[in-house]
């Protein structure tokens, strides 16, 4: 099954992080991505720019500046992983959460 690992982070921390902290964070994500590759689970993923750069569109075309929900934690990126079942997906999710953010594990709908 395919799962999305959605990373929710306190944006303030990331916005205020210095260069060394960012370097360490990217290194940790590099190790996580390597783990996924080792297990044949890597199906892609992206880091998203801070939510302040988002534009939200509602039906009818109304545009608002900013993300859909103004919360302290914002979606900051995601990985797509292939896992045998939820237990394996949660194992990946736990490893990702170790890096310090909140991780939501969502199954991806499969069309046969």
């Amino acid at each position: 099954m395919k799962y999305a690992l959605l990373i929710y982070q306190t944006e303030k921390n990331w916005a205020e992080a210095d260069e060394e902290q960012r370097r360490q964070a990217y290194e940790a994500h590099g190790r996580f991505a390597a783990l996924l590759k080792d297990r044949g689970a890597d199906r892609g993923g992206e880091e998203l720019a801070l939510s302040g750069t988002a534009t939200t569109i509602r039906s009818g075309g109304l545009l608002t500046d900013g993300p859909y929900a103004e919360t302290a934690e914002q979606l900051g990126g995601f990985y797509l992983v292939e896992a045998r079942d939820l237990d394996e997906a949660l194992e990946f999710g736990r490893a990702l959460a170790e890096l310090g953010d909140i991780v939501e594990v969502r199954p991806v709908v499969a069309y046969e």
Binding site: M1, R84, D85
Partner: protein
Amino acid sequence: MSAVEAAFREHRGPLLATLVAELRSFDLAEDALQDAFAAATSQWPGGGVPQRPAAWLLSVARRRAVDRRRRDETLLRYLPRLITPEARAADNDPEADDSLQLLFACCHPALGLEARVALTLRFVAGLTAPEIARLFLVGEPTMAARITRAKQKIRAAGIPLGVPSPHDLPARAEGVLAVLYLLFTEGYRSHRHELAAEAIRICRLMPPAPETTALLALMLLQHSRRHARLSDGNIVLLPDQDRSRWDSRAIAEALTLLDTPAPVGPYRLQARIAAHHAIARQAADTDWPAIAALYARLEDLTGSPVVRLNRAVAVAEAEGPAAALDLLDVDLPGNHHLPAARAEMLLRLGRTAAAVEQFDIALALAPTDTERDHLRRRRESAPGTGTG
């Protein structure tokens, strides 16, 4: 009881578990088993009861499932099937294995506690949604919706049927034990022996581990008192129970289970407390100082105010009501046992007015008629407050 009813009671849980594991669909398993029992209801009275009712029901259910799947094929193609382990363990009892795998899926930590309890009762114990609704005093549509949502989550999120890996097993087993003890206490509290017995049956399926054994012993010890706990619909408290009516076989089994040394956990401490009660020939023989000490360790381990309450009751017996009353200076909002216990201590200290005040608080909070009747009788026993 008719043969069909008897077969239903005895086999529905294991049969449902086997069908879910084979068909990899909760809904198809439920429908197929219902078909099989319907067939039994129409065929057994005239044609005779088969020699092996469970095997008969299983083969009919399998055939009906094939029919249903063929009929609904277009629909079912789009439903993800449940994820099951690739190979079945060959050396164990396959029926128990199916139940165990289903139990771990139903008690998966990705499900909410209410959903876990409902699913376990539906698919491991085999109770119907209306029966579960009555047990937990919620409406049938609410319970049916809760079970449907939980089934959907298991299927869509890919919660596997199967025993967790050795690495995950201890944490996952703890979650299962919490559900089983909740089922048991629900049955115990409301005097529904069948539910309590079902929790014990399911606990026996679990892989052996110290806290699992301890919980089994604890439930056996509490369950052993089931016939002595009620008299004419009234609660009989432990000291007043007719101990000859305790189930001595269940007690003996529990004491044997506790006999082997094991690391101390919450269930083991509770089981050892229950064992002290079980071995006292009469209430006066109870080793209260030992029980109070075990409760103190349990409170250290859990930090629970409910444990504090029970510890206070033991301390009252070991050291007297004044020491116990000091321990009851805690906060436990909405719980009627705390004011009831305070009232009993105050009564023993001769502080009648304060006792009656606490009985009134307890009465306002008590959830069942049986408990309210008991509290009223206790309040009326206070000097100067009798109605007679």
